[in-house]
Symmetry: C2
Subunit: 232 residues, 2 copies
Amino acid sequence: MIRKDLTPAMEDYLKGAYLLRERGEDITVLALAEALKVTPPSVTGMVKRLAGLGLIEHTPYRLIELTPAGTAVALEIVRHHRLLELYLAEFLGMAWDEVHSEADRLEHHISEDLEERIAERLGQPAIDPHGDPIPARDLTLPERDLVRLSALRPGVQATIARVSNQEPGLLHYLGTLGMVPGAVVTFVEVAPYGNVVTVKVGAGKGAVHSIAGEVASRVLTMPTSDEVAAPH
Amino acid sequence: MIRKDLTPAMEDYLKGAYLLRERGEDITVLALAEALKVTPPSVTGMVKRLAGLGLIEHTPYRLIELTPAGTAVALEIVRHHRLLELYLAEFLGMAWDEVHSEADRLEHHISEDLEERIAERLGQPAIDPHGDPIPARDLTLPERDLVRLSALRPGVQATIARVSNQEPGLLHYLGTLGMVPGAVVTFVEVAPYGNVVTVKVGAGKGAVHSIAGEVASRVLTMPTSDEVAAPH
DNA sequence: CTAGAAAATTAGGTAAGCTTAACTTCGGTA
DNA sequence: TACCGAAGTTAAGCTTACCTAATTTTCTAG
Ligand SMILES: [Mn+2]
Ligand SMILES: [Mn+2]
Ligand SMILES: [Mn+2]
Ligand SMILES: [Mn+2]
């Protein structure tokens, strides 16, 4: 398996496909086009090229799938991305809402040697600033099962483990509320009308904040108590 | 002056042109082609495009020149390159013969924000691991006048200030001899035939090494004594 | 002052990666 | 079961950045 020399564009498509699957979504032409901010014909063309390289499996008009080789490339790029994010936050003081765009460019240009040096400085970390898992050197991933903040029952306490969204605006907003990975929150209530949930942030008599349901659903938590999620 | 959005290729041509001039050489199509490892027609084409952007001045079949705007772009990239080299050496333990190729790719992809954070961690440095001057934030350059090791007189003591060559092989070789920026050397003699010079490396009773004249001419020094250079 | 060689340019072509416009296919509803 | 809209593909074309082969210009040596 001496395949390398992929272009940044190819790497981005493979990573995009991988991240869709990570979120449990189907890998479709349209979903990829939206994720990469290109038009559908661009995706069709690139999918053909990547299929020719054995990195993607595709029959026209059907769903797209990554081959094991394609998954390996994607994991390699995801590892670069998340290591860079953590390094930039940890050693260069970048905010968690700034690291994504920087890492998105650099991920394609660091050598395997530099990747390893960065991982070493960070102590071979498993989690990035957003709580996203970092693939290990052998490309294996730690599994955790997390519960959406929006799916907790009133009264349940949980630790924020991951925010599965990279928009700087949203991340900055959550940061100002103290809702970052590691923070403890308690679910208070869901509004009877409209899609709003109220949570207490902090262990003791923390501040109470109401956030949109769409936001709460991007915040993944590890519940502390036993009665975990709300039914349905 | 809101011109930006140059491609990595464009930045490399501008940087290449700048580095030729830094070494006192003419900027010709052939020299650029060799520096960038492309063919002459590629240079002709790119020079036209850059001239169209006002970054290069060129009349067909004559010498190429950077405009002030082109020089500014080149200095910005050189700053990125040399800051990255120093950062990689200083904070990530890379050897001075490994940093160049890594920096050559990353220089095009770091944001101005990251550039500034790196410069800050390094204490706004003026010199990179090879002794090359780092353009300041305002793109000004410190001037030093240095003497080629090959041009010293026997008996003269000098401090190595810069090695103007990036080949990993040569750098590694000089490293094993202890001939790195900051090292003190004493010129011993030049061989009566062939192009070989002998130097003592180290302040006290240092080791004596003979190196090729072409190598010694890439090693730039700051003489300690007054009787500086050999005549002619 | 005029050959030739060296340097540079032009001509013609490829490949990646993107676009818009026009089409085909698929799958769910009436 | 036939239609219709959404999803996907094909067609045609653009830009960047390379290449090789052919041609033109310049400069130098005789
Ligand atoms: Mn990317
Ligand atoms: Mn992340
Ligand atoms: Mn470069
Ligand atoms: Mn350098």
